[in-house]
């Protein structure tokens, strides 16, 4: 066995360029599989993190579309949700652990000579719990402040960085639409959404403050949306039923009448996103596997050439006592060695490529042990599978004819 290995190594080394080119097919295949799977895994981990960051039990209630002369406008353009709806949900829905009415607008914040435009949301303090925000510095505002309309603001990490730089923002006054507001807290950073939005580019003010001082709305008490959290992930469908029942009852809608609001399930949206990422990584992996297959065919091709070239050598070996299995093992070993060496180099290359992609393109990649084992196992399989036919062909040669071969 050891002898066969040594013979195989010598034979491969005696034709270095050919061996290297043959290996290249496997190297590229394995590297491609590892890189592609790493990109796919990175994307899905990104979504997983996002889900755990925002909470998978969130439901968002949007007003229905306004209708202008029979032309329906975009969703949320109507003004059909009110603070009373939010209170009703809070009172009556058992499957909900938090209800936060929201009004928001993209607005400029000014501090000293710095300014920054961001999404300012007015909501009750429940929003922090629902959206699973953590505080990095200072504090959240509390319910009394939210109701009392205190002129305070909690900044997202991106906003704090852009307005204050290295300065400590806590206790400083920023102006929002010319209203001076005191910064009481800075949120812990959450990073980007899977679709590339900066979640930290945001600011929160108490609901009443936003309602009275910042965003004066045409219809009093109307809200742009209500974000709620179900007690846990499993109670999301129950929560959805309750919301529909409560809000439809408040509107005295009969069965069959369309709702003027819309309940969106965050988990479902994310599931869909996760699903499409999974399909994408599967697709990428499959495409990469094809190149591994092509590499395998390359091995078979070269091994067939090698068998023909070395017909005489096979004849000599047979004449002096090599059995059919000895010849078969010898050529199989060469094919296997090519694919194993190619596989190892491919793994190293694939890992470096994944790192480079993260470094230069900023795409998250995850090189899993599973994908390494899979790619390596597949390349070994390719070596055996495509090496077998040439080896088998070699072992069937007639020694007399093989010895006569020029």
């Amino acid at each position: 066995m050891l002898e066969t290995l040594r013979t195989a190594i010598r034979s491969l080394l005696s034709n270095k360029i050919r061996s290297a080119l043959t290996m290249l097919g496997i190297i590229i295949g394995v590297a491609a599989v590892i890189t592609m799977v790493a990109i796919g895994a990175g994307a899905s981990r990104n979504i997983q993190q996002f889900i755990s960051g925002v909470g998978s039990n969130i439901l968002i209630i949007m007003p229905g579309a306004a209708s202008v002369g029979g032309v329906r406008q975009q969703a949320g353009s109507g003004a059909t949700l009110t603070t009373e709806d939010a209170s009703a949900l809070e009172r009556e829905a058992y499957a909900l652990k938090g209800v936060a009415p929201e009004i928001y607008s993209r607005t400029q914040l000014v501090y000293g000579n710095m300014n920054w435009s961001t999404l300012v949301t007015g909501s009750t303090s429940a929003i922090f719990d629902i959206r699973e925000w953590k505080i990095a510095d200072g504090r959240f505002y509390i319910d009394d402040e939210a109701r009392g309309g205190a002129k305070i603001v909690v900044l997202g990490a991106t906003v704090a960085k852009n307005l204050f730089g290295t300065e400590d923002p806590i206790g400083k006054i920023v102006r929002i639409r010319n209203v001076p507001m005191e910064v009481v807290g800075v949120l812990a950073a959450k990073g980007q959404t899977p679709w590339g939005q900066d979640q930290d580019d945001t600011a929160f003010v108490p609901f009443a403050t936003a309602q009275r001082s910042l965003f004066r709305r045409g219809i009093a008490n109307s809200v742009q949306r209500i974000t709620v959290a179900a007690v846990n992930g499993d109670s999301v469908p129950e929560a959805e039923r309750e919301i529909n029942a409560i809000l439809r009852q408040r509107r005295r809608l009969n069965e069959g009448e369309a709702s003027d609001f819309d309940v969106r399930n965050m988990a479902e949206m994310l599931d869909a996103a996760a699903q499409s990422t999974k399909v994408m990584s599967l697709l990428l992996g499959a495409v990469a596997s094809v190149s591994l297959l092509v590499g395998g065919i390359g091995i078979m091709n070269i091994m067939l050439v090698s068998v023909t070239e070395r017909t005489r050598e096979i004849g000599i070996r047979m004449a002096i006592g090599a059995r059919t299995s000895d010849i078969r093992t010898q050529f199989l070993m060469e094919a296997l060695l090519l694919s194993i060496a190619g596989g190892i180099i491919g793994i190293v290359l694939g890992m470096s490529a994944s790192r480079l992609i993260t470094g230069f393109l900023g795409w998250p990649t995850v090189v899993s042990t599973g994908s390494i084992v899979l790619a390596f196992g597949f390349s070994v399989f390719v070596g055996i599978f495509f090496g077998f036919y040439p080896a088998w062909k070699a072992s069937l040669l007639n020694p007399i004819e093989a010895l006569r071969y020029e």
């Binding site: 002898e3 000599i316 070996r317 002096i320 299995s325």
Partner: protein, 230 residues
């Protein structure tokens, strides 16, 4: 007791509809320690006889017994084992592995016999010393003359300590002087007790042997012994 016993061997080749009886009822025996040359023109059946004697081929009819073993109905792998254990081959074209050194070439039969590495090297060296190539062990075939290559091949045939050496036109690719040296080596090996069968079409090469079997049209034409050979 005879080492080789050949009885009524028939070998038929079919090319299209034509039937060629390459060997047509051949019988002879070779005793332990004999030096026999097989002669004949091309097409006489001597190469076919050589292949059968070397267990590279099996006869269609008749019996071939080598060292007490009947080879007629053996499998390919069993024949390979017999070749390894009982026959040392020397070919016209030397048939060395071009990428292996002299020592590695000589060791080759021992690899298939399952002899461990250290012992293999020892025996390989001894065999190379016997043919006078102690200083060429690390050379590759391309770095050696034809005579030296044939000596390596003879060392390879010796290393397995097989009872029979089968040489197929061993001097066919060599000049007269080198041929004589190689033949002297065979004679010396024969004196040491090796049984040697030599296939040739050159009468002066056959002169070195004590017995010549002549083939013609698949049959033995003559089987003669020399009284006082070289």
């Amino acid at each position: 007791m005879s080492l080789i016993d050949v009885r009524d061997i028939v070998k038929i080749y079919h090319t299209g509809d034509v039937e060629l009886r390459a060997l047509d009822g051949v019988s002879f025996s070779v005793g332990q320690g004999e030096f026999v040359s097989i002669m004949g023109h091309s097409g006489s059946g001597k190469s076919t006889m050589m292949n059968i004697l070397g267990c590279l081929d099996v006869p269609d009819e008749g019996e071939y017994e080598l060292d007490g073993e009947r080879t007629g109905r053996l499998s390919k792998d069993a024949l390979a084992k017999i070749r390894n254990a009982k026959i040392g081959f020397v070919f016209q074209g030397f048939n060395l592995l071009p990428r292996a050194t002299a020592l590695e070439n000589v060791e080759l039969p021992l690899i298939y016999a399952g002899v461990p590495g250290k012992k293999r090297k020892e025996r390989g060296k001894t065999a190379l010393e016997r043919v006078g190539l102690a200083d060429r062990m690390g050379h590759r075939p391309s770095q050696m003359s034809g005579g030296q290559q044939q000596r390596v091949a003879i060392a390879r045939a010796l290393v397995g300590e097989t009872p029979l050496i089968l040489a197929d036109e061993p001097t066919g690719n060599l000049d007269t002087k080198t041929s004589a040296e190689i033949m002297d080596l065979f004679v010396a090996l024969n004196r040491e007790g090796k049984t040697i069968i030599l296939v040739t079409h050159e009468p002066d090469i056959a002169e070195y042997s004590a017995r010549t079997i002549r083939f013609q049209d698949g049959r033995i034409l003559a089987d003669e012994r020399r009284e006082n050979h070289a």
